[in-house]
Subunit: 185 residues, 2 copies
């Protein structure tokens, strides 16, 4: 799984680099660990933001936090900090998995390209091939980034017309839908 | 749905009143709105914490935030602030729904009392009777509070022995499991 802070859009649809949110790191790392995803990549091209993430992660994995709350350590250990999505792909390839197929998330339907269903993507994950699931921060991933992806996963829909989940909650729900043990139907 | 800050336990199992976390309000309100739960009760017995929640909610429902981001307004409008769980039950009863059955959440299995499954609870919700789903902050709801509940819902389990989700992510996953539209199996 990857959470990227570039290229994402702001409220007006302009491409920006967003700031890192501390609780995104904690919440998504804990969900990644719970559902057994292989790694959690945090992507930011900004040097000061990268240092901030390194500081947070090392507090919980090596510093005071690692003994104060070892369960938090086990979650934050899943984090790899990268400057670009290419660095993420190369890191996965270098681990011997090969280059992953990139699947992007988007809160709205893309008219020109129907999203892959959770059921179908769950099956793909069980194939053993590597897949990278990418979440955007701010108002979501940029259109050109979405257009380049191998797959778009269908949006999470509730029972209402409203679907404005935080990226933390959306990531947790997707992990549960794709990797959770449940029998709901 | 209710998120309570008392009676919950700390790391050492002692009963405490926890502090309110801003992102709990936002994330859970957005998930409540997305999945169509009827209301989101935030419970704290502390006067200053109650004022803090009122200030946050009114910023987004009446203040600058309400025009800056109307989608956030629609979510935070779901929040009712109460001082105790009894006040919550009375508020629901006064709305004409009758007193709800109280269902509590707990990250671990309770040895003496098996949890109700998501599938079974999903059916109960469809009956039209009122149910209140309660989440604890900090290290979770106190044992005596859990013991008094009508139902305990089974913990969310991933694919690993680890299940330390944030309350924000746990609440979102439960709403999806109980009220989401999906066909996963």
């Amino acid at each position: 799984m990857a959470l990227t802070h570039y290229p994402v859009v702001n409220k007006n649809g302009e491409i920006i680099t967003s700031a890192v949110t501390n609780l995104d790191l904690h919440d998504i790392a804990r969900a990644v660990r719970t559902f057994g995803a292989r790694a959690f990549y945090v992507v930011t091209p900004l040097a000061d933001q990268k240092r901030l993430v390194e500081k947070i992660v090392s507090h919980w994995t090596e510093g005071f936090g690692s003994t104060y709350n070892p369960k938090r350590r086990k979650a934050l250990e899943m984090i790899h900090i990268k400057e670009s999505m290419n660095q993420v792909l190369e890191h996965i390839a270098a681990s011997g998995e090969g280059f992953p197929k990139v699947t992007v998330t988007c809160a709205r339907d893309i008219d020109t390209r129907p999203g892959i269903s959770y059921k179908a993507f769950r099956k793909l994950l069980q194939s053993g091939n590597p897949y990278l699931l990418v979440f955007g921060t701010a108002w979501g991933l940029s259109e050109p980034f979405i257009a380049k992806a191998d797959y778009i996963i269908e949006p999470i829909k509730g029972n209402t017309g409203y679907n404005h989940l935080s990226v933390r909650c959306a990531a947790a729900i997707m992990l549960d839908r794709l990797m959770g043990k449940h029998n709901l139907n």
